[in-house]
């Protein structure tokens, strides 16, 4: 990211990251991140605390300088074209702090002024109304959730082309979480690209078309949300007409015994191909069989088992 990017700009890609590395002393926060987010998609970025999600986003916005690698946002190098990138980007940090003595409205006016007054104030009021945010309240009197609403408003209010959101629903009640996800979808429908990190797997699963999972500074998986779930795991609950031995399943490749209810019912988790399991079940007196699509959370946790 030094003006001599090795990435070839692609007009169909909103975010291109190649070999991004960053260390804090001896701690290697990013160990070569490679990402590509297409224009117009909603991309989820999953990882536990300390995995490198915030560091990645802050590198993209030139808050911190990576030690190596390249990135392009909307075809621009964020270090040499910082202002141009930020004019077209909306950012929601994971930890929000404001000028406490200002009202929410005054704080948003400040952010709008920093964008040459680009925000349409009718849209700001509309956003505030949908998020049930009292603009006249001083920031210092707002709860964590209401401050998050101010943060969401400032990220969306200038209708950016690219949204970089670090845990956008953090601190919000379930109704407001749905409202924010709705804003996300609407922005995306209007053409914006959304890149967001979250711990709430259900919202990533419902909203994101593709996800990347980051672990210890490296991307360990990147795929479409649906195929990731379908490809990775299946959960099967089988009831038998008579007791069966658990050991019969535990030795099958890719099969894990999750639980056993009595001696006749067993729940299994299968990674990958189910053919061997199906063949095994074929030899046994099966009463009924139920398959469960695993949640993204379960998929996510498999990458952190060890």
């Amino acid at each position: 990211m030094n003006g001599k990017s090795t990435i070839v700009p692609n007009s169909e890609v909103a975010l291109q990251v190649q070999g991004l590395t960053k260390s804090y002393g001896k701690v290697r926060a990013l160990r070569g991140i490679n990402l590509e987010v297409k224009r117009g998609e909603i991309f989820g970025f999953l990882g536990p605390n300390g995995a490198g999600k915030t560091t990645t986003i802050r590198c993209l916005l030139d808050m911190i300088r990576p030690d190596g690698g390249s990135a392009l946002l909307l075809g621009l190098d964020p270090q040499s074209n910082q202002v141009a990138v930020q004019a077209r980007t909306g950012y929601l940090p994971g930890e929000m702090q404001f000028f406490d003595n200002l009202t929410a409205e005054r704080q948003l006016h400040f952010f709008s002024d920093m964008r040459d007054g680009r925000a349409e104030w009718s849209f700001v009021r509309d956003l505030a109304g949908r998020l049930d945010l009292d603009l006249k309240q001083p920031i210092k009197n707002l709860s964590k959730g209401n401050k998050q609403k101010v943060a969401v408003t400032q990220a969306f209010m200038h209708r950016p082309e690219l949204l970089l959101l670090d845990e956008p629903t953090s601190g919000l009640d379930p109704l407001m979480q749905q409202e924010v996800l709705g804003l996300l979808r609407e922005a995306n429908a209007a053409g914006a690209t959304v890149f967001f990190s979250s711990h709430i797997m259900s919202e990533v699963e419902n909203v994101a078309g593709r996800v990347a999972i980051i672990r210890s500074g490296e991307i360990v998986e990147m795929a479409e949300t649906g195929s990731l779930i379908r490809r990775t795991l299946n959960r099967i609950t089988v009831r038998f007409k008579q007791p069966v031995k658990v050991a019969e399943f535990a030795s099958l490749p890719g099969v894990e015994v999750i639980s056993q209810t009595g001696q006749n019912s067993i729940t299994l988790q299968v990674a990958g191909d189910m053919e061997i399991l199906v063949q095994t079940l074929g030899r046994l007196p099966v009463l009924d069989l139920e398959t469960d699509r695993p949640s993204l959370e379960e998929v996510f946790l498999t990458y952190y088992k060890n």
Partner: protein, 285 residues
Amino acid sequence: MKRLWTTFRYTYAGLRGQILAWGLGLAIYGLLIVPMYDSLFAKQDTFQKMLASYPPEFLAFFGADTTSMLTPGGFLGMYAFSMMPVIIGIFAVMAGSSLIIGDEERGRLDLILAHPVGRTSFFFGRTLGILGATMSIMVLGWAGFSILLGGSSLGFNLAQMAVPFLPLLVQILLYVTLALMLSLLLPSRNLAAMIAGAVMVASYFISSMAFMDERVQAVSNLMPYHYFQTVLSFDELNLTWLLALLGISAVMTVFAWLRFLRRDIRLTGEGSWRMAFLFRRRNRV
């Protein structure tokens, strides 16, 4: 340019409390001190006897003697302006050290810089804001010293009354830029303010002690206060000193700017003692 102006506006507005507090404080002091000269002049015999009883070293510490203190210039120099660099310097080190890093330690700088303002525009918008605030404090102070001048026997006009505020402004700017530069080099704002404040106080004491002991003169020559004048005539102003001090302030400002351009922005809180190389390349591939 527009965003630099926006940053300047908000910075100046954010400092309005300090402008009023320090400026009005200085102005009120002026309102009190100017009429005091007449009282002193009326009782100068008594006052001279009192001064004669002081050890000469005591008067020398303030750069004064028994005769100069009774002149208008000596009076204002001793009672009004001699300690101003230290008193107003408190504003300088606190405001200068928190100008950029205050927002960073409170976790606000991230979001501010995520807006299309650019680090250079932001830095100089803030710097011009504090320059404007410092000048506003000087103007308020000058107004306070000038209001009762007409009825006083000091014998100065408004322009002459403004003269000592020029070296004072330059001294304050020096400490603002020192605190600013230190805040961008050191792990915390508090540490930067402490060191800048220590330099300010040490400068005052060492320069004052040099009047009493010539052996301290060599060290005093390195202190900013040594180059502070309390004259009330433009002809007596040492422009070389003023310009040299302004030049040093400018160098420290540029140094601070270059450091700000290259450093990582912390999420919140104070930094560590691991100091990155000042001019490290942006990207080691």
